[in-house]
Symmetry: C2
Subunit: 446 residues, 2 copies
């Protein structure tokens, strides 16, 4: 693959104005920022970390091109000293991160960035932008996979994704959370995700008769899946069965249903197939599916073998934005926090520790980065001096396995589609609580 696109100007204007002010006032001491979510969306019992690989690529390759500097100069508000600084800008800091595929909860950092204040500040917007979508989609996909209860889920989301790079990020995130394949060819090419597909209604409609359409498709791809609901599902299935019998050849791997009462259609279709001795032909369902609809179909006993899921996955439709933030927690050796209403943050560099009872996670403890706590610390070093640590690199399939194992360790109530009662517990450690109180007092005394 080519070097990743850098998009240095994919940032908020205020990052650049703040940077110039930091530099003019000599504020280049070390700072620590943490990226976390303030709350889970209503329909999520957990989130799955994703997008960190892209975030680290960005940090490693961030450069301002001449055209970027020229544009900034044209705005007439930046000093030439500052533009020279940007010309030479490299991210040279450290990052600790939650490995992709790890479940996490509100207030737990996904990324802890430690660098000079200007370096750590500048990268805020793009880090949030890069981490949010994959995390939202992986978290949604985990629910869809849970709902499918062992049946395959196929990502049909490309047309609904927010562009080409969003579709890649979404397909990768869905796959790492347990989705089995994608219709997105570019995602297959880029990440090696298995690609899958059937046929569209237009293929059937372009033929004067449905029979001719099926015959043509089977001639080209003898075992490909056929879409049987363009006109009438039962008649379409009769046609498929006749064609297979007449040809005496191989049957399609599957038929797809995309409209109407999917449970009723699937039952009738299954009966038609079984009566024809075509037990091996599977049924794929699609059409505005999400985890709730999949759960209903399964509860209803619909004999569906795999589910194609589109919009719900591609944009995490019921929670397309997570409330992710990137907050300064320390500068120049002192803890920093915000006291604004409902948005108060906890100061100081943090770590969090997952607590287990045997193989089962019971709760997490959010503590200080340097405290010794029981449990498994989840943030790991991934970048030092602006360079990736090779040990932190994992293949997509390793991440997928890690996600599956980590999810299985969560309390079973979290894997319900309904809100978990009680929700997963995240405790603040005594040391962190005391640090917060000290910082709050210091700020209020000013």
């Amino acid at each position: 693959m080519a070097a990743p696109s850098v998009h240095a100007l994919t940032t908020d204007l205020y990052q650049l104005t703040m940077l110039q002010a930091y530099l003019e006032h000599g504020m280049q001491a070390p700072a620590t920022f943490e990226l976390f979510t303030r709350r889970l969306p209503p329909n999520r019992n957990f989130l799955i970390a994703a997008g960190l690989e892209a975030a680290l690529d960005y940090l490693e390759h961030l450069r301002f091109e001449d055209a970027d500097i020229e544009y900034l100069e044209s705005l007439g508000r930046f000093s030439s000293e500052f533009l020279d600084y940007l010309r030479e800008f490299r991210f040279s800091g450290s990052v600790d991160a939650l490995p992709e595929g790890t479940p996490f909860f509100a207030n737990e950092p996904l990324l802890r960035v430690h660098a000079t204040l200007p370096e750590a500040q500048l990268v805020e917007t793009r880090l949030l932008n890069l981490v949010q979508l994959p995390t939202a989609v992986a978290s949604k996909a985990a629910r869809v996979v849970v709902a499918a209860d062992g049946r395959a889920v196929i990502d049909f989301g490309l047309r609904h994704a927010h562009g080409a790079d969003a579709s890649l990020a979404a397909s990768r995130a869905a796959y790492l959370a347990g989705v089995q394949a994608t219709s997105n060819v570019a995602a297959g090419q880029t990440f090696g995700i298995p690609v899958a597909g059937t046929m569209a209604h237009s293929f059937v409609q372009a033929h004067d008769r449905e029979r001719e359409a099926f015959r043509h498709f089977m001639a080209t791809f003898p075992t490909a899946a056929l879409l049987v609901d363009t006109y009438d599902v039962e008649a379409g299935m009769d046609t498929v069965i006749e064609l297979v019998r007449d040809a005496g050849g191989p049957a399609p791997t599957a038929v797809r249903l995309d409209s109407g009462d999917l449970a009723a259609h699937a039952r009738r279709t299954r009966r038609q197939l079984d009566e024809a001795g075509m037990m091996q032909v599977q049924i794929i369902a699609s059409g505005n599916l999400d985890e709730q609809e999949i759960a209903r179909l399964i509860t209803d006993g619909a004999p569906i073998d795999s589910f194609g899921v589109g919009a719900a996955l591609a944009v995490s439709e019921d929670a397309p934005c997570l409330d992710v933030v990137y907050k300064l927690v320390a500068y120049d050796g002192r803890g920093r926090m915000k006291l604004a209403a409902q948005k108060t943050t906890l100061p100081d560099p943090k770590q969090f520790f997952r607590q287990f009872d045997g193989a089962a996670a019971t709760h997490d403890v959010l503590g200080l980065a340097d405290e010794q706590s029981e449990g498994q610390p989840l943030l790991e070093p991934v970048m030092r001096n602006g360079k990736r640590l090779p040990a932190s690199r994992r293949s997509l399939d390793e991440i997928r396995t890690h996600a599956e194992r980590s999810l299985a360790m969560l309390p079973a109530r979290l894997r319900s589609l309904e809100p978990a009662t009680p929700p997963y517990r995240v405790e603040v450690s005594v040391a962190l609580g005391e640090a917060a109180e000290r910082t709050r007092r210091r700020l209020q005394e000013q």
Copy 2:
């Protein structure tokens, strides 16, 4: 700007398998597809067309690279004849489109693509992917702008957008629908949209005292906007006012409030400013704003001059996916339609005609492309033989003006945030109704 990225493999696998089947069976007669939405989201009285410029760029530049062909070959399911066809693939068809910025409704085509069946089929997925997000965001932005009732709306959505190219598309779409500026520097660079920004809480927190933070920022940017809610809004405002008095210099252009009871804070802040004789300092509000919240603040009399809107705009949060489809309406000279439950489509190439009473639009008539109807036909020729028609190119500011004027012509009830009663009427013309009936009968007789 560089040539646009082509992303030929940003497509669903089934487009490629269908193409191979079409080619093997000599199905290369002319086809017409239409891109439209089957229904408006519950919270939309209209949609605003956007993304067509990017869609046409894609059609004009679509090429398969060697690496693409190699990847497809590695899948082991495509013939070498087919891969050779893709190597030479160019889109050579015609497109008629709804100009960007035009309001439209369910079942009205945004794009009508006419080409050989394989060419028109292949581009389905990416066209949907390119048109959906900008249309969703422009439509959402129009509501936000209506709610702001003449006050400025600033796009703060970059961090919540689904990646870098999604953020560009969203910022452009928001601007064309009436948003005044963006925090997204890359959108300023790419499209010439005015960029704007204030400061972040981290800037204040990095200083030991808020006063020092304001002093530093004002020293670097004397009239920049200051964020006053990091600790306590009233005390923050006292500090701003003292600093301006002490310096005897220029005041900030604005102060920003980002948390808590924005109406109460704005009233108190306005009073403080006015009592200090700083009437010209404006108040910017932000923090999880959407059109409903903005309308509430304005109804509540909050003296806010501009609104920074993030997630709601960036992903059209309450309707992040539109139900856009791309359907075959004619092949080889015959109308085509789908009869599937709830998803029946109308056959034949179409045009639609906006009907006016004076300057006010009253309703639309959806008819056949070649019929003579009253009213203003809205689809215009934009591409012939694979080449853009120069007359169809418009600058972003022209599109923005067109959007503003076209929206002003809609019945006033549509510009309410509540569902319009009755909704805008779209009639099917007699000729189109008869064509649909003929096609349905033909299909049912088979």
